[in-house]
């Protein structure tokens, strides 16, 4: 792993966008809406600073391990340029032409698929940043004027936040610096602005303190950056690091509030279910009122787990009571919940088609704008779906795509045109990102199948199945080993279809994988997602299969559509995962006589763990076959980046 990280440092200007760390990644981005160079380090640093971000609190030990090990590698090379370049003269000029595209870019990216109040963020962002630009000249002057004189600026610094008057009479609030006032602002200002304001104030304080003890050099740095603040959140926060490092005592005071603040701002999809207060809050909002399983495995407390039996009847009985829910969305939610639809592609397609229906039946209520209202509507659908089952990464990406499309609808479009365009966007997404992508993957992958091969696959992946069938159609002579595992036994369905098509197959369970592996020549695996450190996030058991294959020196080819790639980095399968029904592993259907664990839930000493996903380290993956070609796992970040961009200009 280390060598890879080294490599990343070498190509750092490119990778930076991608290579931040799991926890704070997306919120960090949301808030920093700046030109490219400075933002990534911020995103990197802030999570390390607040080592437990609200997004995904890994169990403490792991967190510190990961982050500590990560820091030395990433930190210095990234920060140095970030520090020196943007703070100074760079800023104004870059800002002026930079704003609109970049701001929109980030708003789009950060417009997290799930955050509810980010609805229509694209618009607010853009509009505001435009205003910032216009109001900036004042600040710009300040900056130039202030630069040489070191610390008198601090009082001026309080002014620039005053510039946030851009959104309306906020000047008073600036002075009293109280959370209450900023809260009142909340409706009007975007997140980035609010944050800017707060940080400006805080940094100002920090600077004021630093002033006494510190040399003018550092102080001037503070001052300039502080000036930049109204314009640039990011610079500020990178700067904040400086000031924080200068005054160690101040550091905690500075760091903690933003964390709280962020918690308030962004209800992240991955709620930590061991956080009692938030769980309570979420329950109040929730449509479904699940009963939580009592004895959960300690390490996985942060993941939701409910008594399976209670969720479905509860939701079913409320069928007619959920007024705003579109029937199609409801149906999909039920299907997720009941397990009728599973698998990344199928779930994503089902969801998109439901949204398509919902958009078709949508009409903007009076005195609302389509862009905002539809986004809010969509968010409520999404949170409903999350209640039914946590989103897969593919779905998250699709939602993000859809929301960005909504946010970018030109205002001039009539409602029907807008709806039509969204519907065709969804169609295009399905066709290009899933159907065509699969076709391309099949074309690529087939070149890797030769006569006489023995191909092993695990579980049931739609892409792998298509590859096998296509290779068979081409007349290649090969044998397939289908490895399966309890409790889902998805492999049996795959097996049935393959055998039906006349392929010669071997079926075995995962506990025999080391036995069967010596005769295998290639391993084809599907994936739920590929993370940007090359980790393959997939059905539980995949890691085991690929490790065995690695040990036997059998190449492991992972087939995954690029829309499932995710910029997050994950090193283990603990911090983000999904828990399945514990009954599924405690019971063997049809074998009453061996169900010894019938009333296991009553026993305090027994905890069952039915994980759904696992993370395969990229070391064990020889190649990832995607719609952009066959790439090594180390190239995933490149695709994520390029794809993101293309995603933007679709």
């Amino acid at each position: 792993m280390d060598p890879r990280r080294g490599a990343r440092v070498v190509i750092d200007p490119k990778v930076r966008q991608v290579g931040f760390f799991a926890p704070g990644a997306s919120p960090g981005r949301t808030q920093s809406g700046p030109p490219e160079s400075s933002s990534p380090p911020v995103a990197d640093n802030s999570p390390t600073g607040n080592s437990l971000s609200p997004v995904m609190i890994p169990p403490p030990r792991h967190a510190s391990d990961n982050l500590l090990s990560a820091r030395p590698a990433l930190y210095p090379p990234l920060r140095r340029p970030g520090d020196t370049i943007p703070v100074g003269s760079y800023n104004p000029s870059e800002f002026f032409h930079g704003t609109s595209p970049t701001a929109s870019f980030y708003s789009k990216v950060g417009d997290g698929e799930f955050s509810e109040d980010a609805s229509g963020a694209g618009w607010t962002h853009r509009g505001n940043s435009g205003k910032v630009a216009s109001s900036f000249p004042g600040g710009g002057f300040d900056l130039t004027a202030v630069k040489p004189s070191n610390l008198t600026t601090v009082s001026v610094v309080n002014m620039p936040p005053g510039i946030s008057v851009k959104s309306g009479g906020a000047s008073i609030e600036v002075q009293n610096e109280q959370p209450a006032s900023s809260r009142s602002l909340k409706e009007k200002t975007s997140k980035a602005e609010r944050r800017a304001l707060q940080e400006a104030q805080r940094a100002a304080k920090a600077a004021a303190k630093a002033e006494v003890s510190k040399a003018p050099i550092a102080a001037s740095g503070v001052a300039t950056s502080v000036n930049a603040k109204p314009a640039k959140v990011s610079k500020l926060s990178s700067q904040k690091k400086d000031s924080a490092s200068v005054t160690a005592s101040e550091k905690k005071g500075v760091d903690r509030p933003p964390e709280k603040d962020r918690k308030k701002d962004v209800p992240h999809p991955r709620m930590q279910f061991d956080d009692k207060s938030r769980v309570e809050k979420a329950k109040r909002r929730a449509v479904v009122r699940p009963i939580e399983v009592r004895n959960r495995v300690e390490l996985f407390r942060h993941l939701p787990q409910y008594e399976r039996g209670t969720l479905l009847p509860d939701l079913e009985s409320k069928f007619f009571l959920l007024d705003p829910m579109h029937p199609a969305v409801y149906k999909v939610g039920l299907q997720y919940l009941a397990g009728d639809v599973s698998g990344g592609n199928a779930r994503c397609i089902a969801m998109l088609q439901a949204f398509q229906e919902a958009i078709k039946d949508y009409s903007t209520p009076p005195e609302k704008t389509l862009v905002r209202d539809l986004t809010a509507r969509l968010s409520s659908y999404v949170s409903f779906l999350i209640e039914c089952r946590p989103l897969s990464i593919s779905m998250g990406n699709a939602i993000r795509f859809l929301k960005s499309r909504i946010a970018k609808l030109p205002l001039s479009l009539s409602e029907s045109e807008a709806k039509a365009s969204l519907q065709s966007d969804i169609n295009r997404f399905i066709n290009e990102k899933i159907v065509l992508a699969d076709k391309v993957i099949v074309r690529h992958a087939v070149t890797k199948i030769r006569d006489g091969d023995v191909l092993l696959t695990y579980g049931s992946s739609s892409a792998v199945e298509m590859i096998l069938l296509y290779a068979h159609e081409l007349g290649k002579q090969f044998r397939v080993v289908v490895v399966d595992s309890r409790p889902k036994l998805e492999g049996q369905l795959l097996l049935r279809r393959l055998v039906g098509k006349g392929l010669s197959c071997t079926y075995t369970h995962i506990n025999a994988v080391s036995y069967i592996m010596h005769e295998v020549t290639r391993v084809f695996l599907g994936a739920s997602s590929v993370l940007s450190n090359g980790t393959v996030y997939s059905r539980v058991g995949t890691a085991c299969v690929s490790m065995v294959a690695h040990a036997f020196r059998v190449p492991v080819l992972v087939c995954c559509e690029a829309y499932k790639f995710y910029e997050r980095v994950q090193l283990d399968s603990i911090c983000s995962n999904e828990l399945g029904d514990p009954d599924a592993i405690s019971k063997v259907p049809g074998r009453e006589e061996i169900n010894y664990l019938d009333d296991w839930a009553k026993s305090e000493n027994l905890q069952l763990l039915n994980l759904i996903y696992d993370a395969t380290p990229s070391d064990y993956v020889s190649m990832i076959i995607t719609d952009y070609g066959m790439v090594p796992p180390t190239s995933v970040p490149v695709i994520v980046r390029e794809y993101r961009r293309e995603h933007l200009w679709i």
Partner: protein
Amino acid sequence: MMMDFQVVVLAGGTSKKLVPLVSKEVPKALLPVANRPVLSYVLELLEHSNLKDLIVVVEGQDAALRVGGWISGAYVDRLHVEVAAVPEDVGTAGALRAIAHHLTANDILVVSGDLVCDVSPGAVAAAHRRHGAAVTAMLCSVPVSGPLESGSSSGKDKTKKPGCCNIIGLDPTKQFLLYIATGPEIERDIRVQKSILRAVGQMEIRADLMDAHLYAFKRAVLQEVLDQKDAFQSLQQDVLPYLVRSQLRSELSLNGAPHTEENGHDKVVPGINQVMLSQLLAKTSTPSFHELYAMGPNGSAPVRRTHKCCVYIASQDKYCARLNSIQAFSDINRDVIGEASHLSGYSFSAQNNIIHPSAELGSKTTVGQNCMLGEGSQLGDKCSVKRSVIGRHCRIGSNVKVVNSVVMNHVTISDGCSIQGSVICSNAQLQERVVLKDCQVGAGFVVTSGSEYKGEFLAKKER
């Protein structure tokens, strides 16, 4: 139109099974259960599920007028109800056929008006939607029938009526209906199709379940069946068994139709992608036996058309009963003020009974548990009322015993009567020292003094 569902309540007319309780004045839907028309239980169940747009179908013009009049009085501003009158004896299927052109929503919820239950119709609808079924039926366990204590057990043994149990075949997951036979058919042998058995592998046959007459239909399916099969009269005995029988060789032309219109605006991607898409969806989802069967042996694109018949089985702790016999009438009355008291909508007193404040009780008169005394009723001295419902403005003399009975409105009972397990309809008159056991007294009938009856129908012979 909530969630794209339309609700049809089949309120029936004057059922022959319930003579002498029903009459021209009191159609079946208005029979009092705990002093409330039985139809109100269904309407309130639906209202509770936020289903406020209803179509109520009543057999017979007169009955329709009465039902309509009652509904408009009781539910003004609460529900939007349309009452449709259909000719008598058209059957449930015929009634639906008559109003078929009013049905526009994607799915139709058909509820029998005589259902007294607390199972959310939403659950049935949700199960229906989830599976995309052609029809979903609600099943519940057969209610305990007959009087509670064995001492007064009815000699006629109405409890073992063959008509009230069904034979139902389910798949192992208890989600699909594989076989259903009702009342009269049970006498014959049970015939199960091989194809269904082969496709499912295993069938569970249950006799302890009852069809609650709450169905969710796909509208297209329902209308098609009703159009094509003119002879079908009853939903339960014709339409549902037909759909169940033909589920693996569907003659319905519904499948695939919605898909083509869905993509109407994006014709750039023709055929092949669409097929691939549907395959993608189908393959990754867990197939029911229908899909497996449809796919045929070689796992290619569907070769056979199927439709799904689903069931929703209400859990044991829910109450569910149908008022379709006299026995059921007294059972339901007993239950609604007894074990299923949450259904009645009344608040019970500390003695676990309901006595309207305007009711008058004589000295040494006792009203036991699970009793109900309507507005303005008067009881003389030394009376005893146990597990009974007494309607409005009844006049009951002294020394009267009422046990396990239903007394409707404006009934006069003279001194010294003893009533057990009976139903006495409105305006009836019981003269002195009448002893009734397991009798039904029709509306306006006068029982002469001193007479004793056991297990008889007493009604005017004018019909």
